[in-house]
Subunit: 167 residues, 6 copies
């Protein structure tokens, strides 16, 4: 990676950081007043798409989303905060990671409610997959995420093979 990262206009991980904040509205929630899982996924997808688009400066499409847990409910009137960035670039694709937090504005209590990994493909003017520029990894944390992205990628490939066999 480090070699590739030194060529042709490489960009840093931190340049892809995205932060989205919303107040959970009644229409985003179920009858219990808890945010719908689908609303959370929707925000994760947009935040990660922005991070990927920022890195490659080309339109991107969501290729896949890894499995995702919802650890704590987020209530109407609370904040949902999504932080995303690119973890690793592959040939024509990028893995992005997002962390979701809730904040109760009256108490200040924050919770980490989900972690997500999505893969995006960069498209050229003919809407075909196109090569993505290398990325500069600067901190230990970024390096750890870069390595973990490769592990997850192998896992994804294996999982697909398994599911294909299973029918």
């Amino acid at each position: 990676m480090s070699k590739a990262a030194k060529t042709t206009n490489p960009k840093t991980v931190s340049a892809t950081h995205v932060q989205m904040t919303e107040i959970v509205l009644p229409n985003d929630a179920n009858v219990l007043g808890n945010i719908l899982g689908g609303k959370v996924m929707h925000m994760i997808d947009i935040a990660c798409a922005v991070a990927a688009h920022r890195h490659c400066r080309k339109p991107v499409v969501t290729a896949s989303m890894d499995s995702l847990d919802f650890r704590h409910p987020i209530k109407v009137g609370e904040l949902i905060i999504v932080k995303a960035s690119v973890n690793r670039v592959f040939n024509t694709s990028m893995e992005c990671g997002a962390k979701v937090y809730s904040e109760n504005l009256n108490t200040g209590k924050c919770k980490h409610t989900s972690t997500a990994y999505l893969t995006f493909v960069a498209l050229d003017d003919n809407r075909r997959p196109t090569t993505v520029e290398p990325m500069i990894v600067e901190t230990d944390d970024e390096r750890r995420r870069w390595e973990a992205a490769e592990v997850r990628r192998h896992f994804r490939i294996k999982q697909k093979q398994l599911l294909r066999k299973q029918g």
Copy 2:
């Protein structure tokens, strides 16, 4: 399963079938005119939540979503159709499956664009997980999905252990 399925007000898989149809609107799409992955996830989550709620007749919350591929883009003006039902009931949780299709209204061309598996937990009046009634599996297809749901569950548990080790 078959034993449990014979007791106390069991319900069929077919009673949980949900079908949602929407025309893809400009606000659901990116600048290429393709539906956002997050909009698709949002519809999948709602369709599966309805299927799960129909089975247990209690409020449900999304616990997790399995990994998900987006095989074909869906364009503004096309239909997105989501079909969902409960695959298997566990103790307090249910696995639901959803298939996503696109339809071009001018040509009639349909595509199967995604398959998704989500787990929901049923809640009692105190918003605590509560036991879900058994389910009657009637057709070979339903039986196949019932078995596959158990395989996926083991996979999920292993995956969590793996990710926990990985940090």
Copy 3:
């Protein structure tokens, strides 16, 4: 009808069936928590437009809506289910029928809340009305609806004449 129905790429009624399902959200309701009549009409219009578009595979515009009753309220958190299909094709127009149901997800109680009939006109590339292909009517139910559509059409024409006189 049956003669016409045998020529040039005729299509079945069942190929036009549409099913839309939504959870009633707070923004769809009045202060009593009942769905707004206008939200119901909006869903009916879209479901019927999809059915008409599916038959003629050309863009369609709503020409008219027959009178419509709202028999039972649908509450926030309940399901609204709209089922629509084409009832009969005329020269450049199609009559579609829709039935609206509510479902209480906690009790499973379903109600038939409205029946609606809408007329759509098919448009060519210059946005002029254009001839619609014939339709294959297969079941007794479909035949009954086909006949009733003709009766309603006469009724509509008479009603317009009456209203024109009345000023």
Copy 4:
């Protein structure tokens, strides 16, 4: 009518006038860029509900909508203007009338695109139909609409009987 109109806090027709104006947005339109019929119905329903609520000062529910024509398309970026008022009060119900206009903001060209008649029922604190106060009709135009509302009501009753026989 005139006798009743002199008792207990009667109100004028003009006090119920409502005017709603919106710019047609991309999400309100079909792929041709024409407003959806359902969006128009939605606005008509809300404008008339406000007029009815203003007269009786109690929550109201839509009971029925008369047949409705869409004479001209309204395009994205044009104005849709809905004007509504109460035409006549009956025992527990009110007939409201709405006129829909389009305006092209670049040319100033206005069109009258639809006329609609809706019936609303006033509800008491137990959500049961409740008597509506009388109404003061002041102008010739208002008197003409008051009379026509009675004619339409007879028409509605006959139509229901007809449709019931027809099955």
Copy 5:
């Protein structure tokens, strides 16, 4: 002004009057059930843009908004009514004024909640500022607003200078 107003297709103030009415929905409000200030500003901006567009019959963009007070809360289920018109035309810009009212539909109680002044610039086909036609001021009220608009304009220019110095 009066001279200019007599030349080349001048238009009256009253021809720019806009009235928007909406029922405040749950998603427009904070957790106290009060409309968000931002929703009010959004409606003010659209109503004034329509008034300005009506005068110049060309696309307009918001250039600035004067300071704005929120005197009374508007609750979910109440009406928000925005009335706007053009106050004065300058060279390529127009000052519009808007008044915001709330109405409690159950009691009929109305309140004037905000007054706003916005400036819009007319754009030609190349999206460059373009000259706006003169305006006919007919009533004393319109004349008073025309004069006050000039005072506010001087105020705006001074304020900008002050803020620039202040940094």
Copy 6:
């Protein structure tokens, strides 16, 4: 300020920082594809309300918004980024400042498009204005904003007096 800031649970400015990011959608824009001024104001209001709520940990209502310029258009498909924080606390009110930026995702070009100042009032359980805790100002930048907020406050009071006289 500095004295007050040392008592009873004071909080830092940086603890109130909010960042909201959205992709501009077709429904947020006018026919030229430029974001509506009202959409920008809506996001500014929410971001500042969150900052104020974070400081006082009580519900807040928008009291006023200072005059606001729109320097550059933001296009559909571009990012709008709003950054907000509390500038100064007064007795029961807080001044918040927001900066609005656009980012073209294909080129990476960013622009600072607006600066806004809003005042919020904290409410107690009876929805009456209530005292706000002091704030810790840590950096030179924060101190500069704290001082400027006082200048703007005097300006606001004078402006109100002026407008009152003017009628």
